[in-house]
Amino acid sequence: MDKLDGSENVARVLKTAWVYDGEISPSAFSLRPHIRETYISVLRELCDTFSNDLAEVVHRRSPVYYAKMNVGELRNLHVDTIEDDVYFDVKAVDNLKLLSHSGIFVYMNNIPLIGGEPFESFELKRGMPADSTLMTIRETLSEFAKKSIVKWKSEVSNPKPSNS
């Protein structure tokens, strides 16, 4: 997987449930445990297919919001986790449908985090509170993402049929 240049911006599409009263839910930056997610999906703004990919992701042609994040700034984000060294990286991730698809990878002590591991006992159990270290990581990303929220509306007038 190719690392993105620090000058690039990536977009994290924000679901309705993730945005409220001017805040972004830290859940928007979870590595989902039930699918052992290894990265947080984003789209590269520079890509020619960005707009089409965005429309494909949201399955509709209506205004949506996304968090615009600079790759270089993401890599320099400090995560105050007390004992552990946490950092982020952004790489292109192959996807047949979405050519601009990329991922935010999270590393703890140089080991990539995977959803559900190693905090399996917290994340996988229904009704259990989130692990506090993961909360710190998600908090850092959600506060960073809040700096630039973009409202995007497709210019295509005819809705594209959903494939799902």
Binding site: E23, I82, G127, S132
Partner: protein, 156 residues
């Protein structure tokens, strides 16, 4: 009851054929009731109403509310947050927002701060940063008063 209503009630009572014993009995019951009634002032501030509305909205989320397999919010988690709302002062209620989390829990996110509390069925976890110092803990036994103390530490 306002003064007019009370005067009407008094006129009515005077019109009844109450013996002296009846009157003493009635007065003793009223005095007893006035000393045992808990003066619970319901919270009707705007912040409380807004938070309760938000909580009810999240409580009604169905399974797979995010189209990615998220679980509906656990009823006990909703009840726990309701307990917090009941004791949280109005000004403090305005400092945070509620979000659903994917495993049936609720997240309290403090506005503009690196601070959040995850409310589970029996426990809560938190992470916040204050004066360049990080604070966090996992699986604290849930008690609304403890969460309120934590909130005061975060915001205060």
């Amino acid at each position: 009851m306002n003064t007019v209503s009370l005067n009407h009630l008094w006129s009515y009572l005077q019109g009844l054929s109450l013996t002296a014993n009846n009157q003493r009995w009635l007065s003793e019951r009223l005095i007893e009731a006035s000393t045992t009634t808990k003066n619970i002032t319901p919270r009707h501030g705007n912040a409380y109403r807004k938070q309760l509305e938000r909580l009810n909205e999240l409580a009604s989320l169905q399974e797979n509310w995010d189209d990615d397999g998220a679980l509906s919010i656990e009823p006990q988690v909703v009840s726990n947050v309701k307990d917090i709302l009941h004791i949280c002062p109005e000004p403090l209620l305005s400092t945070w927002v509620l979000f659903p989390d994917i495993n049936g829990t609720l997240l309290i996110k403090f506005k503009g701060l690196h601070a959040s509390i995850s409310i589970g069925v029996h426990h809560y976890s938190y992470s916040y940063r204050k004066e360049d110092e990080a604070h966090r803990a996992n699986n604290c036994p849930f008690e609304a008063g403890s969460v309120l103390n934590l909130m005061n530490s975060i915001v205060g």
